[in-house]
Symmetry: C2
Subunit: 269 residues, 2 copies
């Protein structure tokens, strides 16, 4: 791992005592209010990954964004709630000034070879090299990624007479090359903007309140992806009374499904 | 609410002290090992619903099944982690003999009228009255529901030459009439069997490790559904090395999307 990479710096944690880590928000991954949620999620996962009692690899991760993360230092409490023979359940709390800003639960397991079957194929998409790299600077963290949209660019509106459609399809990879691992996959699972921005041309306050990742990818599969592009698709099922869901998937360039992710997203109006 | 209903008895909690409740597993909702996960999830949600500090209605719920729940009594610790002006984050721990058997996080909010848009339509399905009620007795909790499968019956195998397909489409309602509420919707979001049973004719040990519900339905919408049937669809995106995901949706009979749910499910081989 190249610890000089902006992403590694953003998710770096220093052990303070048993189950307690300290981190610091990253200028490079700033969002409009506080840090990019994907970095926060990756930082919480990182606490488990570097915990001396950690068993196996991540299978699921749920992150609840409880309040704004202020610029500067924070603490992460990582508590193994239950350890079985080959599985482990974690509770993760990110705190600032003694107050919970993010809570999370994670499930880790030692995985063995079994039947393997992919039901959801990657949607057809032009090769990333044939698409324009997105030139966007409204959010700092955006610059950390190389985005190539196939369709569904947020806040662009839609052509007259086109149906409402919340689907985005895009290629993404780290702007500065970095081999894919569980932390960067976690962050890339959160690169999709709130789906309300696909229905509206003008901005409305919005943000993820809860996000759940299921890691299909095993370490060997991540290694094969390396620093290649991932194909991501996100779409809402319903938006109603301040909250929308969003179901997303990330595939490797050769069509392997690496991550299933869902979010509950607040939108103001 | 009819407190004599088997479901209400299964999820009943007695307050013991601040943030602490006591419950008891239900014979009626037994699964092969321990209680039906849907009842466990509903019981944890119930702890928040009856908590004196509760704010608003459920928007998201994640439940991690950490270990088997033994027959008999259990405790539920319900802790408000963070309360904002119109939102609230909860941590829920179900314990037996001091050990965590289930952990959960829940997000509640006061919801206001906004843009409302449903992107995912209910799939076409014959009316429930035109379909045979499922006659099945392998699991006790199954008998508590009136199931009418359109397709995708677990462990039935598939016709020669048919492609592998993990999708189930079915109608479901409480076998004994009961008006839908957030707790029963929570349980019905877990009625779908592990998707591995759609690929296999023979049983393999399997079970949910983590489940996330997003509640689209607001109280007024639940009230309109009453004790009507819900249409449920579940499908896996990928099954690999002991774990599969499963994305599910529940619609009212008139096509309103009430719940988006995802699971990470263990399967042995």
């Amino acid at each position: 791992m190249s610890n000089n990479h902006a992403f590694d710096q953003a998710i770096a944690l220093t052990p303070r005592s048993d189950n307690l880590y300290q981190g610091k928000t990253s200028e490079a991954f700033q969002n409009m209010v506080g840090p990019f949620g994907g970095t926060t999620a990756a930082t919480l996962l990182q606490a488990v990954l570097q915990h001396p009692q950690r068993l196996g690899d991540p299978v699921s991760l749920t992150v609840n964004f409880a309040g704004p993360v202020g610029d500067g230092e924070f603490e992460v409490e990582a508590t193994p709630l239950r350890t079985n023979r080959s599985t482990q359940h974690w509770l993760l709390l990110q705190k600032q000034n003694g107050e919970v800003v993010t809570s999370a639960t994670a499930f880790f397991a030692i995985r063995r070879d079994t039947l393997t079957e992919q039901q959801l194929s990657a949607p057809p998409a032009p090769a990333p090299a044939s698409l324009q790299r997105m030139d966007i600077s409204i959010r700092n963290w955006f610059k950390q990624y190389d985005f190539r949209f196939v369709h569904g660019i947020p806040l662009m509106g839609r052509a007259e007479g086109q149906p409402l459609d919340t689907e985005s399809l895009l290629w993404v990879r780290d702007a500065v090359e970095r081999p894919l691992d569980f932390t960067s996959l976690t962050a890339m699972g959160d690169v999709f903007a709130p789906r309300i921005f696909l229905l509206r041309k003008s901005f409305t306050p919005s943000g993820t309140v809860s996000m759940t990742h299921y890691f299909h990818a095993t370490s060997d599969e991540l290694e094969k992806v390396g620093s290649g592009f991932l194909l991501g698709r996100a779409q809402a099922s319903r938006l109603h009374n301040n909250y929308a869901d969003q179901v997303a998937h990330l595939w490797s360039e050769d069509g392997l499904l690496l991550l299933t992710s869902t979010q509950s997203v607040y939108f103001k109006e």
